[in-house]
Structures are given as structure tokens and as C-alpha cells.
Symmetry: C2
Amino acid sequence: MDKIRFFGEQIAHLIEELDFRKEPPELYDPIAYTMNQGGKRLRPLLTLLACDLFGGDIQKALYPALSIEVFHNFTLVHDDIMDRAPLRRGKETVYKKWNSDIAILAGDTMFALAYTYALKTDAEIVPEILTVFSKAAIEVCEGQQYDMNFEQLASVSIDEYIRMIRLKTAVLLGASLEIGAICARADQNDVRKLYQFGIELGIAFQLKDDLLDVYGDTEKFGKLSGGDIATNKKTFLYLKAMELANNRQNKELKQWYSQNTTIDPNHKIQAVKKIFDELNIQNLTGETMTGYFERSLAHLDSVHADATRKDDLRLFATQLFNRTY
Amino acid sequence: MDKIRFFGEQIAHLIEELDFRKEPPELYDPIAYTMNQGGKRLRPLLTLLACDLFGGDIQKALYPALSIEVFHNFTLVHDDIMDRAPLRRGKETVYKKWNSDIAILAGDTMFALAYTYALKTDAEIVPEILTVFSKAAIEVCEGQQYDMNFEQLASVSIDEYIRMIRLKTAVLLGASLEIGAICARADQNDVRKLYQFGIELGIAFQLKDDLLDVYGDTEKFGKLSGGDIATNKKTFLYLKAMELANNRQNKELKQWYSQNTTIDPNHKIQAVKKIFDELNIQNLTGETMTGYFERSLAHLDSVHADATRKDDLRLFATQLFNRTY
């Protein structure tokens, strides 16, 4: 069995073993529901791969890895309230299935649980791990705030957008790798390089997400296709289109993005997609994404570590980059 | 200057020095607004007094103390969303002044900030401090869930109510003391006794809060008098009244507590207060509260520590017990 699959099973097993049949069930049922939904579990995998990259004992990194996955799921539970999102991974969101109060409190509890898991490793590395973890947590919140701000702004630059997804998505990938490296007591310089690898990879990853929302396989993706368009989300695709649009396209895009079409958004999605296609947005986004991806690999290359183990991380990054859902 | 005042000023100074003029302001303004509102700052004071009790250096306990205060304020910001509370400490709540999305995210950020502050002490005690802190954080969430459940239940026993306030309020007072004691490297047995002191004190403190809501000085208390009655909150006073009510009183109480009187709740408050008075609820609650207070002091007495320093904690607890707002 290859390493990525093996590590993935270790994490899946650890999550399965978690027992959320606790009191009060109104609090723990939504947590169990969230954690049992699967998802890509990409962040804990990055932690284990980073630990292994430096020859560390992945048993020491398992709970810190779990901690990041639980934290990530907490942010999704809260984001879904703020975004009024009905679906996540093809299932009802906690906020929709229960209510927003339950989602707030279940999320808060998951955040606290994440910290209890992060403590389950060698005491001497706990302060360093939690420093990285808490810094990332704050930045993720900042990113979410920028994301919400963008909804109210008439125009957002591509630079501002990249800064937002760097905070909202990329820093946690960076932190996942950093924490894995800390578990292996890697050299400070290498830890920093691996963090940079995660940042660039994270931005590429989010651009891929933006692309897949419009051009991905709906059933596998677990969200509605064009959901970002339906909800007027200013993704990279939209911002790039606005940058390149002629007067007619600019006017049409603005018009579509000022409408709330919760019932049957298909007409809107098709019309916006048509403009995206006219402007070659799929390819242009792909090019920008490829740039981030290639820079991420350059950072990985510069790390001092065993070449074969680096290949595992490179393979994993490539799989992420090539995913179709 | 007496010790309690001196420690209080240390904490106030530390909070004043915090700089929340960060980006994005939509996220940090509500945090600054919350942290600058003052409040009793009782929990960080308990941390410093506990550290001092065992001859510890309070400089080592300052940031952990701050951490608990920030955490406590985070819970208030989120609770106010769930309770739809318009006022807190005589001012608009974050949820009311901004909106619930802002309040969710500002709260999440405060939670993460709390952890960054908790890390600012000797690395060797960080794992122990965070273990106590995270356990308390989870229990506070459980308590809040029970509190929300009670809103939906036709009847709640006094025992269930005490369990709820133990989780929602008392464990954090216990943890505040425990963390202060850990900062002073106190003996495990003494740490446990001090925690028990905090638990019993915390329950007495909440019963006092329940009492003050109906019988306190409105202006100083910073909340509407009778707010718990207006919002049908099943406090100790209500549950005790239901326990003792005759048929007529039971029927009247049930009737009042099934009504949502957001506009001019005074008539309802007066009517319920009248029943409370008929049943001697103020004194009965006072007696139960005194029982918890006296048991808390017995735990404090059993701690092995300097008698004069114990007097500081006893004095502080007594001030809490005797407060009129």
C-alpha cells in the first residue's frame, strides 16, 4: 500500500474511534455528524507527510493532525452559517439540519476539542505547535472576514482576493505542514520552506476550488454546480472576468451579480458561464493556478530532506492539483 | 493599596495595552469594543490571587489570566447571539450593534486569541495550563447547550439546573484558580482543593446573579431588571417557585412563562415577582446560595497555604457574595 493511502487510513481510523456519544446529545450529535462526513482530510495528511518527510515518528503527529482536521471542520460549520449554505459535501449543513444556535455552539466545542487533541503529543513541542496553530486560526478568521467584506464591496482587486484566500485557506495548509515538521523536530529553515510550500499550494488549491465550482463534476463535488455564481460570490473567475470584460460584458456581469436568484439559478449560471467562456476564464484561471502550483513545488524542492520522501509530498500535491472534484 | 485592587489594576492595564487596531477593522472593532467594556474581571483576578496564594510570581500568571478573561468574553459574545440579548453591561451587545455573522467571527477570533495569550508563560507549564483551559472550555459549551435545552423543556429540576450552572459558570471559575495555582507550581492536592473552592463559589455566584436580575439595582447591574423573567428564563428562582407553588401559582407562572412579552414586559415582571414574594423565593435562594458559599470557604480553608494570603481570597469571595449589582 502506498504511503498516502496508508496515512489516510491512519487518520480515518483515528476519526472513527472518536466517541461523540456524550451528553448533551444536542451538542455532540452535530459534531459527530460533521466529523463522520469524511471530506478530503487533506490537512491531516499534509501533517503526517511533513512529519514523515523529516523521518519523524508519525504516531507523535497523529493527534496534532487530527486537531487541524477538527479545527478545519469547525470553520466550515461556522462559515456555513455566515454563508447561509444549505449543502456541504452533498449533505445538509449543520446550520440547515439543526439551526444556527446549535451550529455556533457545536463549532465552538469543536474548536476547544481541537486544542485538546493538539495537546496529545510530546509536552516539549506543545507550545511551538500551539503557537503555529493559534496564529493560523486567527488568520483563518481574518480571511473569512475579508471574504464577507467582499460581498459588500462593488469591486475587489485580484491582489485583494489572493490575500483573502491566502488567509482563509492557504495558511492552514501551511500550518498543517509546519506542525508535522515540528513533530519531526525538523530544522527551522526547512520548517519555513515547507510552510511556504503549503501557502502556494493552498492558493493553487483554492483557485482549483473556484474552477471546479463552475467547471467541475457536480455529483462528485458534493455542491451545486455554479453555486458561487448563484450566490454572487466574487471568486477569482468573476474578478478576472470583470478585469477583462468589455462594456457589454461588464454591464451584464454586474447585473447578474446584483440579483438574488435562490429559486432556479440555472439561467443565471448559464449566462455568466457564457461570458466566462467568451473571456477564456477557465484557461486564464488555470494558468494562474499553475503558477502557484509550480512555485509551491520549487519551495518543496529547496527543503533538505530525503528525495524519495519528498516524492510522496510532490505526488500528493499533484493529485490535489489534478483533482476533478 | 490592597492586593485585590493592585491585581485588578495589573489586569486592567494589560487589557488597555492590547492593540486591536488591526486589519480587517470589521473583525477587530467588535473585539476592542468587547474587551474595553470592563466588566468585573473576576476570573483573571482569581488566577492572580491563586498564584499569589502559593507564593508564585504573578508576572507568570498575567497572560494566562488575560487568556481566561478573553475566553470568557468570547462566550458572552456568542451567548448573546443565542439568547438574542440586546444589552450587556449596559451597552448594546456585539450581535445587536453589528450583526450575528460579525459576532460569530469576532467570538471565534477571541477564542483563538485567548490561546495565544495562554501560551505567554513558562513553556514547561503550558501543556498543563492548556489541558485545564480546554477542558473548561468544552464544559462551558456543554453548560450553554443545557441552558438552551431548558428553554424547550416543560420542567427542569433544581438538580439539573445546578448541573447546568456548574458547567456554564462554575467550572471556569474553578479553572481560573487552578491555572493560577499551576503558575505557582502548587501541590496537586492543593490545586484540586482550590478548584473545588472555585466550583462552589461559582454556583453561589450564579445564584447571586439570578437573584440580582430580579432584586438587584438595575442601573448598576447593567441589564434590565427582571430580564430573566421577561425572556422566560428558567432560573433558580423560577424553578424553586415552581417546586413550591400551589395550584393557582403554578398555573399563573406557567401562563406567564409561555408568553413572549418583548414590548413592555413590566406587567409580567411585577406579576411573577409577586408570586416569588408570596413563596419567599428571595430568602430561599439566599439560603441555598449561602450553603454553596460556606462550602466554598471550607475548601479554601483546607488548602495548605499562608493564612494571610488565604484571607485575600476569602475577602474577594466575600465581596462577590455581598455584591449588590
